[in-house]
Symmetry: C2
Subunit: 224 residues, 2 copies
């Protein structure tokens, strides 16, 4: 239980996906209230029931993305890049004054192992531009393979680089990293999400070439 946290309710938009649901279970198990968001409220509720069974308590609920964002203190965005801008539109109002943790990686299928910078250079920067200055956007978790998250007891051999322009928002995100069982590092300005997001296609390529499914990174030479 992260006793020093000030965030109590976390919405995980795209929480029906593998990455989002893995994070949701870990956060619920560590004491956060979690709302799964989806474009379909029904699918979100079904996924919430499923995940509550994993946690062994009814601590996760499900709702449409817009309602999930409205209910939460902090909103996590874990959607395919193709759904990124539509999801931002759906929550633009509800997320004002809050922290948005963007997990989105701007992959360009089918070329998912080659870096492809989006128009705004990174998904997280695009989110900040769209949502405006009253939303504190933080980029995190883009390099963590969903493979590692699905079993909540599995130790994840991957560090999380946390980028953002607001120190307090990054500290909150780093608490979420630790609640999910990983090490989080303050990786500087939101602009540095360019590096972190673009590392994901490189890791996907390493999985293909070296026959793995969970390539990740560890930071060496310093400790958090």
């Amino acid at each position: 239980m992260a006793d020093d946290k000030t965030i109590m309710t976390v919405a995980v938009l795209g929480g029906t996906g593998k990455e989002g649901s893995g994070l949701a279970v870990r956060w619920a198990a560590s004491g956060y209230n979690v709302v799964i968001g989806s474009r379909s409220a029904e699918r979100a509720e079904q996924k919430a029931d499923e995940l509550n069974a994993v946690v062994g308590a009814a601590v996760i609920s499900g709702a449409h993305n817009t309602d999930a964002a409205a209910r939460a203190d902090l909103v996590v965005l874990s959607v395919p890049y193709a759904a990124h801008s539509a999801t931002l539109e759906a929550i633009g109002e509800q997320v004002q004054g809050k922290i948005l943790v963007d997990v989105t990686v701007p992959l360009q299928p089918p070329q998912v192992s080659v870096v492809s910078l989006p128009q705004g250079q990174s998904a997280a920067m695009e989110a900040q531009t769209y949502l405006g200055d009253d939303v504190r956007v933080v980029a995190a978790f883009q390099n963590v393979s969903a493979e590692h998250l699905k079993d909540p007891d599995h130790i994840v051999e991957c560090d999380v680089l946390v980028c953002g322009d607001d120190k307090a928002a990054k500290a909150e995100a780093i608490r979420l990293v630790e609640a999910a069982g990983m090490r989080g590092f303050d990786a500087g300005a939101l602009r540095n999400a360019i590096a972190v997001e673009s590392l994901t296609p490189v890791l996907i390529g390493l999985n293909l070439r070296y026959k793995g499914s969970g390539a990740g990174i560890r930071i060496t030479g310093i400790t958090p």
Copy 2:
């Protein structure tokens, strides 16, 4: 001694710098002939003498960048980004038909801990565009702190991501990585140098925030 290598003479342009001279010593110690290149032939020769004393054998020579590139089978470019295009101009002819390993990181001083993409998206891609298709450009070593390289016996806790569009050239670069005492991974297309180069300012920022000098990365979940 890397017995399977086909490259015998390596030029290290910018080899009077910390990163380049650290690599030069390690390669010389593992059996490569090394030519240090600099804008000043005299400075290159002085540095070569200095490094030969470290290695304990006269296996490193010094020359002007252009001559160093002409003498080598493979050319390593380890210069500040401000000198990148001028150095490419100086060796454009001499490097044709060869492999160029670009170590350059497009930092924008004084903002060295914030990602700043160059006009061509990455220094390595700019090199490929300038030099043309007869030069096989490979990007490598950008994330290795010079701190770790200066003592040739020090074990470097940093993996090297090797990007390029030519498989055989990448294999040659990976042999150089191993000769320098590190693990090298085929990290995909040259375009993926965007991710690797932009990770360096993130690591510089981690050093500042977490009071270190040698932050690096290890790839987890797969083995080379």
